[in-house]
């Protein structure tokens, strides 16, 4: 192989890549937060809701989790203008990712809801705990302990696999920036090698942050690796 790597041009444009990484991080956080709200609602309905609503949530989850996020986002991106809705690329990506993450988070959070044992709530009641206290001292610790690792893991999935889909509809997050920059000077391998490294660093920072958060706030040990 006679290819000669030239990283010089990549370092010249590194600030742009950093901007992309920052956008990736923001998109990841917002999509996860939005997804968490949807997921909490979905899990609550699945656990306590009436059957028509449960069926609705089940249908939503089954369809979203069995189709690609990319297609869901293409559906919004290419389909919505036909019904007169013109959203920006970023809005399409964010809404698509939120709906996508919402389905997976419904499943994860639902598992947390189930893990709370009735006997323990009864034990709390016999101790004279109020509803708030029961949630604070029995339900929440349980949910945190049983699903925090899954949540932390899924955040990384959204941050990496989720946001990078944006590159395909022209959102200038990290992968998008790499495509833009390398199509100018054709140093694809160099750009994508550096970008791969940046993703590794970005997710490591996120993993460490989540592990510390888990330890301090929820007193659970989440794995960094």
């Amino acid at each position: 192989m006679n290819y000669r790597f030239q990283f010089g041009v990549v370092w010249e444009n590194f600030p742009q890549l950093l901007e992309g990484a920052w956008l990736t991080f923001q998109l990841g956080v917002f999509a996860f937060a939005g997804g968490a709200i949807v997921g909490l609602l979905g899990a609550a309905i699945k656990t306590y809701g009436p059957w028509p609503l449960r069926l609705l949530v089940d249908t939503y989850v089954v369809f979203i989790t069995n189709t690609p996020a990319l297609i869901q986002i293409y559906f919004l991106y290419f389909g919505l203008p036909e019904v007169g809705l013109r959203w920006s690329n970023e809005a399409c990506l964010l809404i698509g990712l939120t709906l996508n993450a919402g389905a997976y988070l419904t499943l994860i959070l639902r598992a947390g809801f189930i893990s709370v044992r009735v006997t323990e709530i009864e034990a709390g009641q016999t101790l004279g705990m109020s509803l708030i206290q029961q949630i604070r001292y029995i339900v929440m610790p349980h949910i945190a302990k049983s699903i925090y690792p899954a949540l932390a893991n899924f955040f990384i999935v959204v941050l990496v696999m989720g946001t990078s889909v944006g590159a395909l509809i022209g959102v200038d997050e990290l992968t998008g920036q790499a495509i833009n920059l390398s199509s100018v000077n054709y140093r694809w391998l160099e750009y994508f090698t550096v970008v791969a490294g940046m993703y590794v660093v970005l997710t490591f920072i996120a993993s460490i942050g989540l592990a510390l958060l888990g330890r301090w706030v929820f007193r659970v040990k989440a794995r960094i690796f």
């Binding site: 690609p68 290419f78 990078s164 790499a178």
Partner: protein
């Protein structure tokens, strides 16, 4: 809405449906090929990672790093890296080959963790008993550990492959004629985006949903092996 109704008969014509079917098979085929090959390499990776001794430390580190790094890079970045790397080495490699290699590289990282988890689920005492009888590491793995780890490994490995059917949509970006690429092509031909991507989504659903049900069924069957396992009581001396 009118546009969809008007286009629908033309869209769901024979030639289009044939193309969609072929694309779906391509999606399925490259996922299957990539995941199966990746699964095989993952075993090698896990085996290398278990190599004992100080001299094998660099080897173990490489294996650990591989798994860690690939789980933290978006699939689309891997696709681009493979595409441009392979094209630099052998310019006439087919796009399908490139897609399968990318899927394979990714599948190795994910299934390696699944396999490792499965092997670790077998009690260390089983390995010890084998060692005491002089079984080699390979013999112990093949005859004792793997047969017991299988029920733990297979369901999540299938779940991974099924879920990866969806992620292969990203391969459309390099021009493999799979479902998503076909969708974009039809959209470019002027068909409604709602109609096209709704249909494409449904095609993915038809691939993914039955297979995921099959995986869940298998998981339940494998979870209850011959007879019921007795819980071993340890009487404290």
């Amino acid at each position: 809405m009118e546009r969809i109704l008007e286009q629908a008969p033309r869209f769901f014509s024979g030639p289009n449906l044939t193309l969609l079917f072929e694309s779906a098979m391509l999606t399925l085929g490259m996922t299957l090929a990539g995941c199966l090959i990746g699964f095989g390499f993952a075993f090698v990776l896990v085996f290398l990672r278990q190599t004992p001794g100080l001299w094998a430390l660099p080897l173990r580190l490489v294996c650990i790093t591989y798994v860690e790094v690939f789980r933290r890079i978006p699939f689309i970045v891997v696709i681009y890296l493979v595409l441009f790397f392979i094209q630099t080495v052998t310019p006439d490699a087919s796009l399908f080959t490139i897609a399968v290699i990318a899927i394979c590289l990714y599948a190795v990282a994910y299934t390696a963790d699944i396999i490792r988890g499965g092997l670790e689920s077998v009690p260390a005492t089983q390995v010890e008993a084998a060692q005491a009888m002089n079984l080699s590491r390979l013999q112990t793995n093949l005859r004792i550990v793997l047969p017991q780890a299988w029920p733990v490994i297979v369901p999540p490995a299938i779940a991974f492959a099924v879920s990866f059917i969806k992620d292969t949509a990203l391969v459309s970006q390099v021009g493999v004629f799979e479902l998503t690429f076909r969708g974009k092509e039809l959209n470019n031909q002027g068909y409604s985006g709602i109609l096209v991507f709704g249909t494409i989504a449904f095609c993915y659903f038809l691939l993914s949903f039955p297979l995921s049900l099959l995986g869940q069924h298998l998981e339940k069957r494998l979870a209850t092996p011959r007879g019921e396992r007795r819980t071993r009581k340890i009487r404290q001396p």
